[in-house]
C-alpha cells in the first residue's frame, strides 16, 4: 500500500486533434490518463461548423440540395435522398416508381462506398494498410458509374424535389453489376486478411463495448446500434421509397464491440449489393420526376416554345417551390444511422428552419462512455468504427 502511495502520480492530460491522423478530419478529444489508461475524455467539436442550418434559411428549397452533399461527404447521395424526401413530405407529393428505384440504387451504392471507406480507414488506424488499397480500388470503379449518372464524383446533387435529375445512362446496370463483382472480390480479400488475424481480433474484440440499453439511451442508430443487438433499421421499421418491395435482411451483432460494428458493416455491404441487384432487375419504365408538386423544372421544349413554360421556369428559379405552412420530420436510413430532417415552412420559398439530425452526433456523444477505462490505442480503434464524419457532426 505504501509502495503504491509513493508511486502515485497525477493524471496526465492529453490533447488529441483536431489535426491528428486518426481524428478523421477535425475531431478533438481531451483525454485524462492514468498511465496508458483513459480515466476521462472530453470531445470537442465544431471545427467544421459550416452553418448548414443558417445557410439553408437563406436559400430556396432546391438551392439547399448542394449543401446536403457536404453533410456526410462520404455518402452524399444518401443525404440528397433524405433531404428531398423531407421536402416532398412537406409538399405532400409522391415520387414516380422509376425515380424511387433509382433512389434506392444510388442510396445502396452510396452506403456500400461509405462502409468501404469506414472499414478501410479503421483498419489503417490499426496498422493494416493493404485493405485500404483493395477498397479504394473498387470505390474508384463505382465512382465511374456514379459519375456517369450524376456528373460528379463526390458532390453529386443528384436528386430533385419530386424525383431525380436525370435518367440512368446507357450500360449503367451492366457497369454497376461489374463493379459490384469486383467489390465482392475485394471484400473477400480483405476478410481473408482480417477475419482470423490475431492482431485485428485482439484489438477489436471486447473493445469499446456498448450495451443495447446504453446504445438506445444515447440515441444510437444505424450499424452501431445494430451491432449492440437492436434490429432497428428505418428501411425495415418504416419502409420508404420501394424498400418494402425488395428482399433484404438486417444484420445484427451481439456484443456491441468494435469487431461487431465492423462485421455488421461488412454484412450490410452484402445486403446492399442484394438490394441493388433486385432494384436493377425490377426497375420500371416511366417518368423520373413528379411534376404535380410544381417543383420540377418544365421540359426544355416547353420553356423555349410556350410562355407558360417560360414563366414556370422563371418562377421556380427565382422563388423556388412554396410548400404550405407546417412542419415535418422526415427520416431515412443513412450509412451511419437515422438521418432526420426537421423542416419548418412558413409558406415562403425558403425553409424557415431546417434542422438536421445527424446520426454521428449521437454516436460521438457516447464516445467517452465507450473508451473509458481502455487504453489510448483502443480509443483510436473505437473511433474509426463509429465512423464519425465531421461534415454531418458539425454541419
Amino acid at each position: 500500500m505504501a509502495m503504491t502511495d509513493a508511486l502515485h502520480t497525477h493524471h496526465m492530460h492529453l490533447n488529441m486533434g483536431p489535426s491528428h491522423p486518426t481524428m478523421h478530419g477535425t475531431l478533438r478529444v481531451l483525454l485524462t490518463l492514468d498511465g496508458e489508461r483513459i480515466v476521462g475524455a472530453e470531445p470537442e467539436i465544431g471545427y467544421l461548423h459550416r452553418c448548414f442550418e443558417k445557410e439553408s434559411e437563406d436559400h430556396t428549397y432546391t438551392q439547399v440540395i448542394p449543401y446536403t452533399d457536404r453533410l456526410n461527404y462520404v455518402s452524399p447521395l444518401l443525404n440528397n435522398v433524405g433531404y428531398c424526401m423531407a421536402v416532398e413530405k412537406l409538399l405532400g407529393i409522391t415520387v414516380p416508381p422509376r425515380a424511387q428505384y433509382i433512389r434506392v440504387i444510388i442510396s445502396e451504392l452510396s452506403r456500400i462506398m461509405d462502409h468501404l471507406v469506414c472499414i478501410a480507414t479503421n483498419v489503417v488506424d490499426l496498422g493494416a494498410l493493404t485493405n485500404y488499397w483493395y477498397f479504394f480500388n473498387v470505390r474508384e470503379l463505382m465512382y465511374v458509374w456514379v459519375e456517369a449518372l450524376t456528373g460528379a464524383r463526390l458532390t453529386n446533387t443528384y436528386t430533385r424535389i419530386g424525383g431525380v435529375a436525370r435518367d440512368l445512362p446507357e450500360g449503367f446496370a451492366k457497369g454497376v453489376r461489374g463493379a459490384l463483382l469486383e467489390m465482392r472480390k475485394a471484400v473477400k480479400d480483405v476478410m481473408g486478411l482480417l477475419r482470423k488475424n490475431r492482431i485485428f481480433l485482439d484489438r477489436t474484440r471486447d473493445v469499446g463495448v456498448i450495451s443495447r440499453e446504453d446504445a438506445i439511451a444515447y440515441g444510437f442508430t444505424g450499424p452501431c446500434l445494430r451491432a449492440s443487438g437492436e434490429p432497428y433499421d428505418v428501411r425495415k421499421a418504416h419502409p420508404y421509397l420501394c424498400y418494402d418491395e425488395l428482399q433484404f435482411d438486417i444484420p445484427i451483432g451481439e456484443v456491441g464491440d468494435s469487431f461487431d460494428r465492423i462485421m455488421v458493416r461488412i454484412e450490410e455491404i452484402d445486403q446492399s449489393e442484394r438490394l441493388i441487384h433486385q432494384a436493377l432487375d425490377k426497375i420500371p419504365d416511366g417518368p423520373i420526376i413528379n411534376p404535380a408538386g410544381r417543383s420540377a423544372l418544365p421540359p426544355k421544349h416547353e420553356v423555349y416554345n410556350s410562355i407558360e413554360g417560360l414563366i414556370r421556369h422563371f418562377e421556380l428559379i427565382m422563388f423556388g417551390v412554396k410548400p404550405p405552412v407546417g412542419e415535418v420530420y422526415s427520416y431515412t436510413e443513412a450509412a451511419n444511422g437515422e438521418l432526420g430532417f426537421y423542416l419548418v415552412s412558413n409558406g415562403t420559398g425558403k425553409p424557415y428552419r431546417l434542422k438536421v439530425r445527424p446520426p454521428c452526433f449521437a454516436l460521438f456523444q457516447a464516445y467517452p462512455h465507450l473508451i473509458k477505462g481502455s487504453l489510448i490505442a483502443d480509443a483510436i480503434a473505437v473511433l474509426g468504427n463509429l465512423n464519425i464524419v465531421a461534415g454531418e457532426l458539425d454541419r
Binding site: P18, S19, H20, P21, G25, T26, G46, Y47, L48, H49, R50, C51, K54, E55, P66, Y67, D69, R70, Y73, V74, V117, T121, Y132, W133, F136, N137, R139, E140, Y143, R153, L154, T155, A390, G391
Partner: protein
C-alpha cells in the same frame, strides 16, 4: 569555362540551389491538413488508382515537423483557423502550401459567420486548386505546378520559353 576544362568529361557544373531545388521537387513530404470533403478525394489520390507516389509526394506525414508541403483540404472555420496557423508555423523552411478546393481557396459557397473566406487570410498559399472538390487529376496537376515553382526558387534559373509548335505559331495557353 575554366573549371569545365579542368574537370573534363563526366562532370557538369550547376548552382547549389538548382541541385537543392531539383532534389526537393521530387521528394515533397505532404502534410495533409484535411478537414472536409476534399480530404476524401485526397484519399483517392494517394490510393492505387491515381497514385501520387509517381510524383514523389506519397509519403504523407501527419507531423508538421517532418513535412514541407501543406495541403489544406476543406473548409477552414474560425474555430479551426488558429490551429491551421499553429501547424503551419511548426513546419520547417522551406515549405509550400497548396489550397485545395473552393473552400480553402475562398470559402467556397459558405459565406457565413463561421467559415474563413480563404486560408490566405492567415497563411501564404503557393498553388490554389479550384473545384468542389477538385478531381484527383487536378491535385496531381497542382503538384506538378508546384514542382515547377520549386525549380524556379533559384534567382537566375532560366524560365522555360513558351512552347512553339512546328509551324512557328505559339500554342494557346502557353503564350507568356
Amino acid at each position: 569555362m575554366g573549371i569545365q576544362n579542368t574537370l573534363q568529361e563526366g562532370f557538369f557544373t550547376t548552382r547549389l540551389e538548382h541541385v537543392l531545388a531539383w532534389g526537393r521537387k521530387y521528394s515533397l513530404w505532404p502534410m495533409p491538413f484535411g478537414t472536409a470533403c476534399c480530404a476524401i478525394e485526397f484519399m483517392g489520390v494517394v490510393s492505387s488508382r491515381f497514385d501520387i507516389s509517381r510524383f514523389g509526394a506519397e509519403l504523407v506525414r501527419f507531423s508538421p515537423r517532418q513535412a514541407d508541403l501543406m495541403l489544406v483540404m476543406g473548409t477552414i472555420t474560425y474555430k479551426m483557423a488558429p490551429i491551421l496557423k499553429r501547424v503551419w508555423d511548426q513546419m520547417c523552411e522551406p515549405k509550400w502550401c497548396i489550397a485545395m478546393g473552393a473552400c480553402a481557396s475562398s470559402g467556397g459557397f459558405y459565406d457565413n459567420y463561421s467559415t474563413l473566406q480563404g486560408i490566405d487570410e492567415i497563411i501564404p498559399v503557393d498553388v490554389y486548386i479550384p473545384g468542389c472538390p477538385p478531381r484527383p487529376e487536378q491535385i496531381i496537376h497542382a503538384l506538378v505546378k508546384l514542382q515547377e515553382k520549386i525549380c524556379g526558387t533559384g534567382q537566375s534559373f532560366p524560365v522555360a520559353p513558351p512552347l512553339v509548335a512546328a509551324s512557328g505559331v505559339v500554342k494557346k495557353g502557353n503564350a507568356a
